[in-house]
């Protein structure tokens, strides 16, 4: 293994550079669909945050749902530090003398030009990560004592609290309360000659961060995380200090979530606390589960697939489409009912089977938990939709929409359920991309 590590390193670096070249070209060639660029940009950012979540959920076995909160901390830290001084009065309209009175990127940019601006961005991204990491450190000690489900609830609560605190009136002069922060340094401020770098930059930043995460995961430290995931007691008996390692994993995960939040702010060119809702954490969790819990490349692939679907390919599901006549409506309702009933049936069946089989086979609490969760979600979503669509039997002239706003999320939920039920290891399981080429070699 040692021997082929070096060529593998060069292959990966080479492939990444090639990817950057392609991305740079797409960004600057006329005629490339805007949607594609959007998907690439947001996909890179989501890939980073999904990988950061995977550090905790996939590699350390801690089920945490605080990602959106840490992203918010990173995004706000970045935005507050980089709004140029002359724009601060405009941005903080509602707060006279709002803003911090300086801008890291602007100051550095004035002295050093583009490189200074870039340096400022990097410093502020890292500061965003550090602020998120410091919060993780502070809440880590009480929160990480909790066992799986409770930890998830506590971190979710933390994220909601952060979101509320940031919007608190008294903090307005710094956070701008519940108003938008905008006009700060973002990706479109950078050019290479006449080339736009809007898409390349998120790729470079996310790429470097993910590379660092990979190094951590493959270090002795990362191995200790995985040991904790597999068996806490045995890990402790090997001399691994559980509290320290869990907290370290939590801090690292939050640090990179913070950076990705700051990148999201850059990508959007504005930031508002309201977008960092629990729904965002669920999206990220979905990416992690789809990609495979414990697979970095899985998270990356799933991030682009998810962003592609939700922003582009599945958009049409949200356009209202109405069924023409009574028979079509009836047929639709029957098919729909059949689908819902069979999914519920499958969930119940699988759950029973999982509980009956040998205890060690289902020792992973999270599998059972996700089964239960998906069961409840199916029942609720299914029943509501079914009731809604069966109303037309009472009043035949009622419009029955085949597709309507929000339907996209329903399709996503169904995809997740199918993945959880039938491909519970996700796209990649816990393997990585290079493993796919190596498995045969390894078995022999």
């Amino acid at each position: 293994m040692k021997r082929n590590r070096i060529p593998q390193f060069f292959i990966i670096v080479g492939a990444f550079l090639l990817l950057l070249a392609v991305v740079l070209m797409l960004d600057n060639v006329p005629g490339v669909p805007v949607m594609l660029l959007i998907v690439l940009r947001k996909g890179a950012i989501y890939a980073l945050v999904a990988v950061s979540m995977n550090i905790l959920n996939g590699f350390t076995g801690l089920f945490s749902l605080g990602q959106a909160g840490f992203m918010l901390l990173g995004a706000y830290t970045y935005a507050i530090l980089t709004v140029p001084v002359e724009n601060q009065a405009l941005v903080y309209q509602r707060y006279p003398n709002g803003g911090i009175g300086f801008s890291v990127t602007e100051s550095l940019g004035r002295v050093l030009g583009q490189p200074g601006l870039l340096l400022g961005v990097i410093i502020c991204l890292i500061l965003g990560g550090i602020v998120a990491g410091v919060f993780a450190y502070l809440i880590g000690l009480p929160v990480l004592r909790l066992k799986s489900d409770y930890l998830a609830i506590a971190t979710l609560g933390f994220a909601e609290i952060i979101r509320a605190v940031v919007q608190y009136e008294k903090l307005g002069p710094i956070t701008n309360g519940s108003n938008l922060l905008s006009n700060f340094t973002n990706f479109s401020n950078f050019h290479l000659g006449s080339l736009k770098l809007d898409t390349v930059m998120p790729f470079v930043f996310a790429g470097v961060c993910i590379w660092v995460i990979t190094l951590i995961i493959n270090s002795t430290y990362g191995r200790a995380f995985k040991a904790i995931r597999d068996d806490e007691v045995a890990a402790e008996a090997m001399g691994i200090n559980l509290a320290n390692h869990k907290r370290m994993s939590f801090i690292i995960s939050s640090f990179f979530a913070g950076i990705s939040g700051a990148m999201l702010a850059m990508y959007q060119a504005s930031v508002q606390a309201t977008i960092f809702k629990a729904a965002m954490t669920y999206e990220i969790l979905l990416i992690v589960v789809l990609g495979g819990i414990g697979s970095i490349s899985g998270s990356i692939i799933a991030a682009f697939l998810f962003v592609g679907s939700s922003e582009w390919w599945l958009r049409f599901l949200d356009n209202t489409t109405v069924l023409p006549n009574f028979n079509a409506k009836l047929l639709f309702a029957i098919i729909f009912a059949a689908i819902v009933v069979s999914i519920v049936f499958l969930v119940v069946y699988r759950q029973n089977k999982a509980q009956k089989s040998r205890p060690e086979a289902v020792g992973r609490g999270r599998k059972i938990l996700s089964l239960k969760l998906s069961g409840v979600i199916t029942l609720v979503v299914g029943t509501l939709l079914l009731l809604g669509d069966l109303r037309f039997l009472i009043s035949p002239d009622l419009q029955v929409p085949l597709l309507r706003s929000g339907f996209r999320m329903v399709v996503f939920s169904i995809i997740v359920m199918i993945v959880v039920l039938f491909f519970s290891r996700g796209l990649m399981g816990d393997r990585e991309l290079p493993d796919l080429f190596r498995t045969r070699h390894k078995r022999l």
Partner: protein
């Protein structure tokens, strides 16, 4: 030398150990036998700090271990094989072994010990890339012993290493235990297989519902009528 004195341990009101005193002299194999629920595993967990004691003392080479955190205790040269083949299922055999050496910094020494573990368990060497969770029960047991050895311990605590293994493999495990001891490691061995344990051990203690009721050399206890009846499944006739 490990010297335990008047050790009391309770699990929220349930008294698991009720004033245990025992000694594990350097270089010896000491075994602790007793019925299910007697408190044997509790004893090992208390030594390694996984369970907190109420009172008593555990002295190891002039350190007091009680009240120390587990990583500190492991750092003083004690290693434990927990009960029930607790391998890290989603890590490879090699990674499992490396975790065993987690607190060590000497790369060269770790490589050496990896070799000596492979010498003891050639089966593991063939399977370095296999996920530990897919090993057979016996192989997993070998892995937990090998993993514990990777910290190069002075004192190795083994909790039922022969549990659920075929008779031939049990013999293998016990001959390896002797080999480990010959290489200079002190062993405290917990066993259900009292026959094999008493044959292998230099000293033996019998634990009954939280109290030590008998003590002697392995051969002494093997010959004792009460032990024969209660633990060796042989009746007086």
């Amino acid at each position: 030398m490990l010297k335990i004195e008047n050790l009391h341990v309770s699990y929220g009101g349930i008294r698991a150990l009720r004033g245990i005193s025992l000694e594990v002299p350097d270089g010896k194999i000491v075994t602790l036998i007793g019925a299910n629920g007697a408190g044997k595993s509790t004893m090992l967990r208390t030594i390694t700090g996984l369970v907190k004691a109420e009172s008593g003392s555990i002295r190891w080479n002039d350190h007091e271990l009680l009240g120390q955190p587990t990583d500190r205790i492991i750092g003083t040269g004690i290693a434990m094989c927990p009960e029930g083949r607790r391998v890290f299922a989603d890590l490879t055999v090699l990674e499992n072994l490396k975790i065993g050496a987690y607190l060590r910094k000497d790369r060269a020494g770790i490589q050496e010990d990896l070799q000596s573990v492979y010498d003891l368990f050639p089966r593991l060497k063939e399977r370095v890339w296999q996920m530990a969770g897919t090993l057979s029960g016996g192989e997993q047991q070998m892995l937990t012993v090998g993993r514990a050895l990777m910290s190069r311990p002075q004192l190795l605590l083994l909790d039922e290493p022969s549990l659920g293994l075929a008779p031939l493999v049990v013999q293998d495990i016990f001959s390896i235990i002797k080999k480990i001891n010959k290489q200079g490691t002190t062993l405290l061995l917990i066993e259900q297989n009292a026959n094999m344990a008493l044959r292998t051990a230099d000293l033996a203690y019998v634990l009954e519902t939280g109290n030590i009721t008998m003590f002697g050399t392995g051969a002494d206890l093997l010959a004792d009528e009460k032990v024969k009846e209660a633990y060796l499944g042989k009746h007086k006739n």
